[in-house]
Symmetry: C2
Amino acid sequence: MDHNELVDKITNEVMSRLKNNLDLKNSTTGNVNSETPNLGITTQQMARYIDHTLLKPDATDKQFDQLCDEAKKYNFYSVCVNSSWVSYVAKKLRGSDVKVCSVIGFPLGESDSRSKAFETRNAIDNGANEIDMVISVSALKSGNLKYVEEDIRAVKRACRSTTVLKVILETSLLEENEKILACEISKKVGVDFVKTSTGFGGGGATVGDIELMRRVVGPEMGVKASGGIRDFKTAVAMIKAGATRIGAGAGVAIVTGGKSEGGY
Amino acid sequence: MDHNELVDKITNEVMSRLKNNLDLKNSTTGNVNSETPNLGITTQQMARYIDHTLLKPDATDKQFDQLCDEAKKYNFYSVCVNSSWVSYVAKKLRGSDVKVCSVIGFPLGESDSRSKAFETRNAIDNGANEIDMVISVSALKSGNLKYVEEDIRAVKRACRSTTVLKVILETSLLEENEKILACEISKKVGVDFVKTSTGFGGGGATVGDIELMRRVVGPEMGVKASGGIRDFKTAVAMIKAGATRIGAGAGVAIVTGGKSEGGY
């Protein structure tokens, strides 16, 4: 072949490999294949798994209105928002079955424990029924497991026995042994769920992580898959792997088979 | 040339173009040109502009030790950390001139106002001398300027008159009129600084934004440039445009002329 053909061929090859790299990097569900059966889950049943999520800092009141309207229309389990929007969505959802979920210490998990507990109490006072807190990854990475435990315990106390507590591990930042430790500590403290991801940490839920988390926490605790779940098939794969809740900004696309821009 | 040479040449060309693309995409200071004079600023003087910053959620205690050691060695103005690390670095820096700066409601700015105020008070109790809070971009985008003002005011009250307060606008998410509004509100509340960026919002300081912010807040208030500042020349350009403080994870590279990986 002549030089031009060669240039073309090599450039295509490089671009294709880079694209694969990027796809792989962005892919959070590489092991979901088209053969995954849907477990007989109907879209109505799927809706009850979904925390309908809007956490973007530049979202407007109109978008939160839409979030609540969609949650009521499709009968999603909850809407999941930042704590500054809890009282707003709680008012919108009053009289419906849709619960209010607030994230805490979000998304870095690096506000101090007392502040996480205060933010939790305040969110509950404003109408939150469920709390999704982020662990201190820095404490875990520093080997300060006592801090990790006390941090979760401070928020658990603020939840009392009345509010569901989910602990976000931010799995994309963790080694396998750290994921296991975080699950063990969460179970020891007696929280309700472990959850994979914030959606802001550069990675989302994987089937492998859900399987690992389910194995460590046992059959009784909740496991929430979140981050990068944008269609029905992927949501089913997460449930098959052990998830009992799905966090997604793409809830409508998941239950209608539509397209989603993705992201929170 | 033979095929191997050609492959090499083309691959280099593709990689170089991609790198340029990435550099452009990551560049936050496109309008800093090589003709920018250094204003006669010495590296010793530059160090006093710098908040030496480590905000990554997976940073370990060893990295915070290093951060504090570097801050003392190079005489940086402060170290800037998440609130979970304030008491740790405050202990490390005791007896030195280096101040402790804590971020609040970081990085989304979407914890509720009472929680931001609590986190602020707690950070001050733990040793913070300066507070960098993030505004509620969602309230600003929703046209709820009263919320934006009250949110800043709640944190200002927690700072009393003794603690320096900087207000992070997250300029990369804002239109020009929103940047102006945020500066005007910050000035009205009587905070000490407006600041460009969290470093987590997909964009950093630009000379244009610093000039705009300086113009709106007038000559008396502080303006902090942060996000993407990785060398002396860029830091000088920010100061020339009106910045009176530089937030950077690359402080050592800035004052030594070394290389920085960048990022917080």
